[in-house]
């Protein structure tokens, strides 16, 4: 299986720093009242989005759920347009109609997030079905959380995917919590990869905070799916640093000790790995983070400077004309 090298490490660090800083900024802007709505941040989970989407093509369709900013950015969505969407501007990815839980960027194959837990899992299978019928080698990927696995439409889809042997990669970010309750309150099956065992699809559980592990496991599945295999399930064990949503008091769980998190943090880990491997030096690392910070500020400026959508947009966007 292909391992990451220095060049990729740099790309992945850029992607992770962009997501991290972008979402920290979104958190601030939410508290400041510049962004409103239901905001779910993926801080701490950036490694999964980065290490998977970096290996995908624009024609590989990605679907996601309510915690989707990182997936959209990693798949190539412009930070400016994502930020503008979160601020409800006309220049947003969805012209301000969708918001945080409904990001879509068709141009880059980010086919959409959803506010319905697990709701997009069957849609991704539909995209894989279309790829198979159209005879192209595109692969469909869907991100979902551990809480979605107990929803009927998830298992229904796993059964169909296995039955039809379609090029779908089910990507579970298992952060151990669904809203305010731990996985143990939702099921006796600790590992999501065990839930799908009966359907005989190839599956793996990896440390989602270890970018190279995710990269390699996903890369292997992707290669296989590209060449006619599938479906696959990759479970990434990860950690939600922030509350379920911005504003969540978060009293229901104790935060990881600072030191412990520094050990786990996918960004710091890859940085340490890069230094040890001699891929990057402190300056290079600093440069990557700084560039990401600039990009985020550009995004904020762009969004702030963008107009709100025209009043008649609501009525015009209900139906596609054909």
């Amino acid at each position: 299986m292909e391992k990451i090298d220095g060049e990729q490490a740099a790309r992945l660090l850029s992607a992770m720093w962009l997501i991290r800083l972008f979402e920290e900024r979104v958190g601030q802007l939410t508290r400041a009242g510049e962004i409103d709505g239901l905001i779910h941040l993926s801080i701490g989970q950036e490694g999964v989005a980065a290490a998977t989407c970096a290996q995908l093509r624009d024609d590989d369709h990605v679907y996601s759920g309510h915690r989707a900013h990182g997936h959209a950015l990693a798949k190539g969505a412009s930070p400016e347009r994502v930020m503008a969407e979160l601020m409800g501007r006309d220049t947003g990815l969805c012209r301000g109609l969708g918001g945080s839980m409904h990001l879509v960027d068709v141009e880059h194959g980010f086919m959409g997030a959803t506010g319905v837990v697990g709701g997009n899992v069957p849609l991704a299978l539909g995209s894989a079905l279309a790829a198979r019928l159209r005879g192209v080698d595109a692969v469909a990927v869907v991100f979902f959380g551990d809480g979605a696995v107990q929803a009927g439409h998830f298992v229904e889809t796993v059964n169909l995917a296995a039955l039809w042997e379609l090029p779908l990669i089910l990507l579970c970010e298992n952060n151990g919590y669904a809203e305010f309750t731990p996985r143990s309150a939702h099921t006796v099956v600790e590992r999501v990869s065990d839930v799908v065992a009966p359907y005989g699809l190839e599956r793996a559980t990896v440390d989602g905070n270890d970018v190279s592990e995710v990269w390699e496991a996903f890369g292997g599945f992707l290669e296989a799916a590209r060449s006619g295999g599938g479906p696959f399930l990759l479970e990434c064990l990860t950690h939600r640093v922030r509350g379920h949503y911005e504003g969540d008091p978060g009293r229901y769980r104790e935060a990881l000790a600072e030191a412990e998190w520094r050990e786990k943090d996918p960004i710091l880990r890859l940085e340490r790995q890069g230094l040890e491997a001699g891929w990057l030096d402190e300056d290079a690392l600093g440069g990557i983070a700084a560039a990401a910070a600039d990009e985020v500020e550009r995004a904020v400026r762009f969004a702030r400077g963008s107009p709100f959508p025209p009043a008649d947009l609501t009525g015009r966007m209900v139906y596609a004309d054909g």
Partner: protein, 323 residues
């Protein structure tokens, strides 16, 4: 002219659409076997298992699959065997299919057709006999088609498959084997246009699906026995609704009856009554009257089901009641 059944016309429209556009696929429970009503008979044989796909009993997931396939460029025609089980697919239909184009700011389109069938009269009891179309008309982003005649079923199905939006196509099980003469070339019927099935000056009857045929029978009876000339309109499409045709008729007749098989309370008739009393208030000589099922589930027992179901009698009585 050739005689066909409604189900035959639907079957023909499906095979013609599949022949004309290889993006069209058919999926659903037992569709490769033709389904319980033979709507998809012969399709698997002609187009193969890759385009005519049997599915397990997973209404939610197969609806989501059809939506995703549509977003990826196919034109899926999904069959939900009974509208009663559309309840299991409603999250996907209402939250995903109906809103995708809107929420994506126009980036996504969902050229999906969901074929299903409703209606009672076959002793199917409460869970296999419902008429739930009014739920769908309350969901912006969906189009809702509900034809009464074979020729319209074929023509509207062709239009629905060609439409870039999700269309729910509601058939009626008790009309499936009704015979009708149709032109050899089945004409496309545009979505959103009502059909005036009978002209009349005294009262307008807007009737859906099976009730449209009952309305025609009732109209003849009213003409013969009461000298009342009823104009019978089949909206054919519920969303978008051709209100103009209905209002224009009421402006001439000054009386309106809306008839459908669904439970009257909260049915499509309520919306049509509300719209027309507002649009034609000064023309109405009597309140808009409605014929629909009583507020109860469909009973199994034959005499109770017969008494429960609205039909010719109820239409005749309601028109006579329009003082």
């Amino acid at each position: 002219m050739a005689e066909t059944t409604t189900i035959g016309a639907i079957n023909r429209a499906l095979s013609e659409a599949m022949r004309g556009d290889e993006r069209v696929i058919v999926l659903g429970e037992d569709v490769a076997e033709g389904g319980p009503f033979t709507a998809t008979a012969g399709l698997a044989e002609e187009f193969g298992g890759a385009r005519v796909i049997n599915t397990p009993i997973s209404e939610a997931a197969i609806t989501g699959v059809a939506i995703g396939a549509a977003q990826a460029g196919l034109r899926p025609v999904l069959e939900i065997m009974y509208v009663d089980f559309l309840t299991l697919a409603l999250d996907q239909l209402a939250n995903a299919a109906a809103k995708a184009h809107f929420m994506s700011g126009g980036q996504l389109t969902v050229p999906l057709v969901v074929r299903t069938q409703g209606g009672a009269g076959h002793r199917g009891a409460a869970q296999h006999s419902q008429s739930l179309e009014s739920w769908l008309t309350h969901v912006p982003g969906l189009k809702v088609v509900m034809p009464s005649r074979a020729v319209d079923a074929a023509g509207l199905l062709a239009s629905a498959i060609a439409d870039p939006n999700p269309v729910v196509f509601v058939e009626c099980k008790t009309l499936y084997f009704r015979k009708e003469d149709v032109p050899d070339e089945l004409p496309a019927v545009p979505i959103g246009e009502a059909a005036v099935l009978r002209e009349g000056r005294d009262v307008t009857i807007v009737a859906l699906s099976r009730l449209a045929h009952d309305a025609l029978v009732a109209a003849e009876c009213l003409a013969a026995e009461d000298g009342i000339e009823a104009e019978v309109i089949d909206p054919r499409t519920l969303v978008p609704l051709d209100l103009e045709t209905i209002v224009a008729s009421v402006e001439r007749t000054s009386r309106l009856l809306v008839a459908h098989e669904a439970v009257a309370h909260g049915g499509v008739g309520a919306e049509i009554a509300a719209l027309v009393q507002e649009a034609a208030f000064d023309h109405l000589d009597a309140p808009v009257s409605r014929v629909g099922a009583p507020f109860a589930p469909v009973p199994f027992s034959a005499p109770l089901e017969d008494a429960y179901l609205p039909g010719v009698e109820e239409i005749v009585a309601a028109v006579r009641g329009l003082r």
